[in-house]
Amino acid sequence: MKMVTAIIKPFKLDDVREALSEIGVQGITVTEVKGFGRQKGHTEIYRGAEYVVDFLPKVKVEVAVSEDRVEEVVDVIVRAANTNQIGDGKIFVSALEQTVRIRTGETGQEAL
């Protein structure tokens, strides 16, 4: 099993969610996060005082998938979240040791 963690632009969340539903992904976890990458921050001006805002709002999408579906899921997210502009985000794939469905106690692939 793998955990696919995607950091995307907030306004792309609906597209990503729909695209994942279409390929049959059963569940995702979404968190509002802040951070910076190559896009860096932006400047805000209040009555002439300029403040550099270092951290930009992003959305973190987490999807737990079986090994054989990783490529497909990553591919779908890349296509759905792409605007071809700096700041589109990143996807991290990491190993996932165990999954448990709380209601039934099922584990592993069964619980995905």
């Binding site: 805000e44 001006i45 009555r47 005082a49």
Partner: protein
């Protein structure tokens, strides 16, 4: 006039018919003007509404979320404290019988003020005094913006009380209580000198004496809730009708003209600031347009009963541009942390408006004409000279006395909270509360 005559006749009739039955009624009606009284009662409520919650919201939205309650608390506590001091002796010092410099203590605890006591224009003295009280409340509340986010609450209370006594009361007496500036012919309809210059100059001195907030100007200190600020700004605009049109102390043409010019200047100031910011920084901001509104309103205040609508248009536009430039200079060039820009908006606006009143009061400016100069003043030069003296004397007196008050309080109890408390935020460190539990 007709109304007054009519009232006079009916009064004599009444006194014949009802003298034995209702003696207090006839006394109460002695010279009372119902229209004027009704309007000043209303205006009083409008001006209190400017502080609670107008100015409080306006300020509270601009500070960081960890200090939102501290600012609301300061405005509220000032309102309560000033009200009590007003009763005890400040009304007497400002408006009681006295000399050219200060009123006496004859009206301490409102001695001799009954429900039948009358002020000018057929207004009960209770109403006149309440109306003036609301001005005395908002003036120290305006200064809060200068030392926001770092002053001890105890020091703030002590400062506001002493400042009200030593700065506000005498200056109000000079200009409105029969003092030397009034006798000289200073035109200050609703408080360019008494309210805005005193508050603005005191704010600048307070910012300099207290020093900048930790991290200023390097750390970002953006407003935490501009929605609240815009709501407060709207309340200020509405309340300002009471402030300026109420200062006619009558329901008459002066009040109507004051309301008209106030409205025009607010709109012009907003637009001017918006345009200036658009050109200078590329985008028109919400905080910018509402700040321009305050600049337009503060600047028209001294001139409101004396100028015409076209003059107000010029005054408002000038206010928006000049106060915008002043704010930029103070923050970016001088790097003085007058945290909510009290001096560049209210101080500069008050100075500008008091001086411009001396010009646009003239009846010789065609469409830009006003209602004429003070009694006995014959030329624009003479009126402008008087306005200049009013501005300079108010500034110097306020600056010196404010400086001394702050220094003395600093020695006795200290002005600032500790660095730790400041970083934690005053809501928790001074009041053990949070503004938002989300």
């Amino acid at each position: 006039m007709t109304t007054q005559k009519y009232l006079g006749r009916s009064r004599s009739l009444l006194s014949i018919m009802l003298l034995s039955a209702l003696p207090s009624l006839t006394l109460a009606q002695d010279g009372l003007n119902g229209a004027n009284t009704a309007w000043i009662l209303t205006a009083t409520a409008l001006v209190l509404f400017m502080t609670l919650p107008g100015l409080s919201f306006f300020y509270a939205g601009i500070v960081r979320s960890k200090n939102v309650l501290s600012v609301l608390m300061q405005c509220f506590a000032i309102t309560c404290m000033v009200s009590i001091l007003w009763l005890v002796y400040v009304y007497s010092l400002a408006f009681g019988e006295g000399n050219d410099w200060i009123g006496g203590l004859g009206k301490a605890f409102f001695a001799g003020v009954s429900k039948d006591s009358m002020a000018d224009n057929g207004i009960p003295e209770t109403v006149f005094s309440m109306f003036q009280l609301t001005f005395a409340i908002i003036t120290p509340a305006l200064i809060v913006g200068a030392f926001a986010e770092r002053m001890k609450f105890s020091a703030m209370l002590l400062f506001s009380g002493i400042w009200l006594t030593l700065v506000y009361a005498p200056v109000a007496h000079w200009v409105w209580g029969g003092g030397w500036l009034q006798k000289m012919g200073l035109l200050d309809f609703a408080g360019g000198t008494v309210v805005h210059i005193t508050a603005g100059v005191a704010a600048l001195v307070a910012a300099l004496v207290m020093g900048n907030r930790h991290g200023f100007p390097r750390t970002a200190m953006p407003p935490h809730n501009l929605t609240m600020t815009v709501a407060g700004a709207g309340m200020l605009w509405v309340g300002w009708f009471g402030f300026n049109a109420g200062s006619a102390l009558a329901a008459n043409g002066d009040a109507g003209m004051a309301m008209l010019v106030t409205h025009i200047s607010a709109a012009a100031g907003s637009i001017a600031w918006m345009i200036a910011e658009w050109i200078r920084y590329g985008k028109p901001s919400v905080l910018g347009i509402v700040t321009g509104m305050v600049a337009g309103l503060g600047t028209i205040t001294p001139a409101s009963g004396f100028v015409g609508p076209a003059g107000a248009l010029i005054i408002g536009f000038t206010a928006g541009i000049v106060c915008f430039l002043a704010t930029n200079v103070l923050k970016r060039v001088l790097k003085i942390d007058d945290s909510l820009d009290v001096f560049p908006v209210h101080g500069v606006g008050g100075i500008l408006g008091t001086l411009l009143a001396g010009i646009f009061a003239s009846t010789q400016l065609g469409i830009f004409s006003g209602q004429g100069f003070a009694k006995g003043v014959t030329s624009m030069g003479q009126q402008f000279g008087i306005q200049f003296i009013g501005v300079i004397s108010t500034m110097i007196y306020t600056a010196i006395v404010t400086f001394i008050i702050l220094k003395v309080i600093d020695v006795i109890i200290g002005l600032r909270v500790t660095k730790e408390d400041e970083i934690q935020g005053l809501d928790i460190s001074l009041h053990e509360e949070r503004g938002y539990i989300i």
